[in-house]
């Protein structure tokens, strides 16, 4: 039982941290620029494909990840300069339509370059097995994901709370006009934030690639979860994104494991086996609804 609980907690942490990488960029773009970017998931997909291509070409997973982050940051910055910049002053409907078009374009472009079938991205050979600590074993690669996630979360925290650029970002998130009035080049700040967000997406895509599948449309399913996270956490708040991600990750994972087991104690086995996964799948949406009921602007709203 301890093993099951601990393993599921780690799984939840791993899933939550990867969601955080996506949600962090999304919440900043949404919070500071007041811009709904549905194409955020596409950057995640592009990152995963770039990682797979670079890893295959170089034979090294690390080079693949680095190339993916750098490449996707460049793609993100270009996208911001060429397209998204024109959308900031438009209403949300235009933004949703335009970025939805970007999803379709990105999916077709990836299909043209890499084809319909999923691309292989394998974890480094050394991390393919489990790590064993005092009878408790856990996949080494998932541990690496957790380590990377914790490091990035810490770095992001320091960058946002302790640096000058971070201060601008926070200022921009809470009051854009005032920040501009204070003489900060918000345009450039936006490009930087967007590129960093894209880089975080690529990191998530590259790290999750070996666990999931690098395929067309992979961005859409995870984008929904990222939106759930930022709604729970409060739009524009990095801290909210972190807490929201971990909540969603842990609730989803523990729910999938514990619900069937709980149900089995008072329902016949077959019914429990079917009902458990179905209930677990909606658990995070129930969580979101509950949080919105008591805290309509999320757990840590960036704007007063």
């Amino acid at each position: 039982m301890t093993q099951l609980f601990l393993e599921q907690a780690l799984n939840g942490l791993q899933f939550g941290l990867m969601l955080f990488l996506l949600a962090a960029g999304l919440t900043l773009v949404f919070g500071i620029m007041d811009m709904i970017n549905l194409a955020h998931g596409s950057l995640y997909m592009v990152g995963a494909y770039l990682a797979a291509a670079a890893a295959a070409a170089s034979g090294s997973f690390v080079i693949g990840v680095l190339a993916a982050v750098a490449g996707t940051m460049a793609v993100g910055a270009l996208l911001e300069l060429a397209v998204l910049r024109r959308l900031y002053t438009r209403d949300h409907l235009s933004q949703v339509l335009a970025t939805f078009a970007l999803i379709l374009i990105a999916n077709e472009a990836v299909r043209m370059v890499w084809g319909d079938q999923p691309v292989m991205l394998n974890a480094p050979e050394a991390l393919a097995g489990p790590v064993e600590i005092a009878g408790f074993s856990y996949p080494a690669f998932r541990l690496l994901i957790i380590a990377v996630g914790v490091l990035v979360a810490l770095a992001l925290y320091v960058a946002v709370t302790k640096t000058r650029v971070g201060m601008w970002v926070r200022a921009g998130a809470s009051n854009r006009e005032m920040t501009e009035a204070l003489g900060i080049n918000v345009k450039r700040l936006f490009t930087i934030v967007f590129a960093v967000g894209a880089g975080l997406c690529a990191l998530a895509g590259a790290m999750l690639g070996p666990l999931l599948a690098v395929q067309v449309g992979m961005g859409e399913s995870i984008l929904i979860l990222a939106f759930v996270v930022i709604v729970i956490g409060g739009i524009g708040s990095i801290r909210g994104a972190l807490v929201g991600s971990l909540l969603v990750g842990v609730v989803d994972t523990l729910g999938r494991a514990l619900l069937p087991w709980l149900l089995r104690s008072f329902l016949p086995g077959e019914v429990a086996a079917h009902l458990g996964p179905a209930l677990a799948a909606i658990l995070i949406y129930v969580l979101m609804a509950a949080i919105l009921f008591w805290k309509p602007s999320g757990l840590f709203p960036a704007r007063g």
């Binding site: 319909d116 079938q117 996949p139 070996p210 666990l211 999938r256 069937p260 086995g269």
Partner: protein, 389 residues
């Protein structure tokens, strides 16, 4: 007035001509899963079908043939729309290609209503084998339960009594569980996952906690690839013996997972080492054409094309005579790459099922090897409730 009469006579005579002298070409609508994690299966069926077309010089029953291909993206609504287009706009004579049973069940009614023959090269849902069996539905592969039944029997005979079953929550997954449990009588813990799920961390933790001595999983395509990889990464492979139907242990999965698959037992109605001339030619030419070994899916696509070919030849191209065409399909005058099989009254095969094990062949490739027969002339469990009209 005279003109109209002439036109009417002309039209009538043309109509007569078409039914009297037969069609001048055969159209096959091929809707399959060609993108996403399930794409490997659809691509193999398609390539098998295309290889048969090549062997038949692009003809079906001596008539020039056109195969129209569409991707269903593993979505029932997309499959329905593509099928509707093929039936109404392209007026295809046969439909084939669907991989997943939930899609087959969604598409079936519109095909049968249109009186078009569906030759399933994969999906074999229990519904169409039993009460909803249909004269316009033929399955050239197997009924869904069959490969699982074979594995259930083997696991039972080997003395395992504590088994976890992992399968997606969809009609094919339910058929898998009932098939396996029809012959396996020990303790079975069922775990249902989402169809298309790729991260199995939560399930693997539960499996570790429940300490089974064997694990039977049916996760076709990319799902199985991820599951086996993560199963090995979690370090479960040393305590738990893995068993699977051939679907989760064929070339597509082996290619992606590699050596961790070594020693895995699985069941099939076909293997690439079957020793008959048709199969030898099929396997050799498939490798030459596509640079990889064929999977059971490819063999099923190949057989589907041969079945259509034989039936069109039998009716001498008179594709509008549905009764004769059904008889010709039932006669199935072709040699399957699996060896001989018979039709049951529900248009599903009665055939042998073999045990395969994954090992290294003489060239050092990781691949399947046939070990022996599990069932001879095995029929499905639903045929009794089929009242074929």
């Amino acid at each position: 007035m005279r003109l109209t009469a002439v036109a009417a006579t002309l039209a009538a005579s043309l109509l007569l001509a078409s039914s009297a002298f037969g069609a001048d070409k055969v159209k096959v609508g091929f809707v399959s899963t060609l993108s996403g994690p399930g794409a490997g299966l659809g691509v193999d069926i398609r390539d098998g079908f295309n290889l048969a077309m090549k062997h038949l010089n692009g003809k079906l029953g001596n008539l020039p043939a056109e195969v129209i291909i569409a991707d269903d993206q593993q979505k029932p609504d997309v499959a329905k729309a593509e099928t509707e287009k093929f039936l109404k706009k392209d007026k295809v004579d046969f439909m084939t290609g669907i991989v997943f049973s939930n899609i087959m069940l969604a598409v079936g009614p519109q095909v049968f209503e249109n009186k078009t023959f569906y030759i399933s090269a994969n999906a074999g849902p229990s519904q169409y084998a039993g009460e909803q069996c249909n004269p316009f539905f033929f399955n050239v592969a197997w009924q869904n339960d069959n490969l699982h039944e074979a594995m259930g029997k083997y696991v039972q005979d080997k003395g395992f009594r504590n088994v976890v079953i992992v399968t997606p929550n969809y009609p094919g997954g339910k058929d898998a569980v009932s098939g396996f449990k029809r012959y396996y009588k020990g303790r079975a813990e069922e775990m249902y996952t989402k169809l298309g799920q790729l991260d199995y961390a939560a399930e693997l933790a539960q499996i570790r906690a429940s300490k089974p001595d064997a694990l039977f999983f049916f996760l076709p395509g990319g799902m199985g690839i991820n599951f086996v990889k993560q199963f090995v990464a979690a370090g479960l492979s040393k305590d738990i013996q893995l068993f699977a139907p051939g679907f989760s242990a064929d070339e597509d999965v082996i290619k992606a997972v590699g050596t961790p698959m070594l020693g895995m037992f699985n069941s099939s109605h076909w293997a690439h080492d079957f020793d008959n001339p048709e199969n030898k030619r099929f396997v050799a030419d498939f490798e030459k054409e596509y640079g990889r070994l064929p999977s059971l899916y490819a063999s099923q696509g190949y057989d589907a094309a041969l079945l259509i070919d034989a039936a069109v030849r039998d009716v001498k191209g008179k594709l509008d005579d549905k009764v004769a065409l059904q008889k010709a399909l039932e006669a199935k005058r072709f040699k399957s790459v699996r060896g001989d099989f018979k039709w049951n009254t529900n248009h599903y095969p009665v055939q042998n099922y073999v045990l395969r094990v994954i090992g290294k062949d003489v060239q050092g490739r990781v691949t399947n090897k046939t070990m022996g027969t599990i069932f001879s002339n095995h029929a499905d469990a639903y045929v009794a409730s089929c009242k074929m009209k």
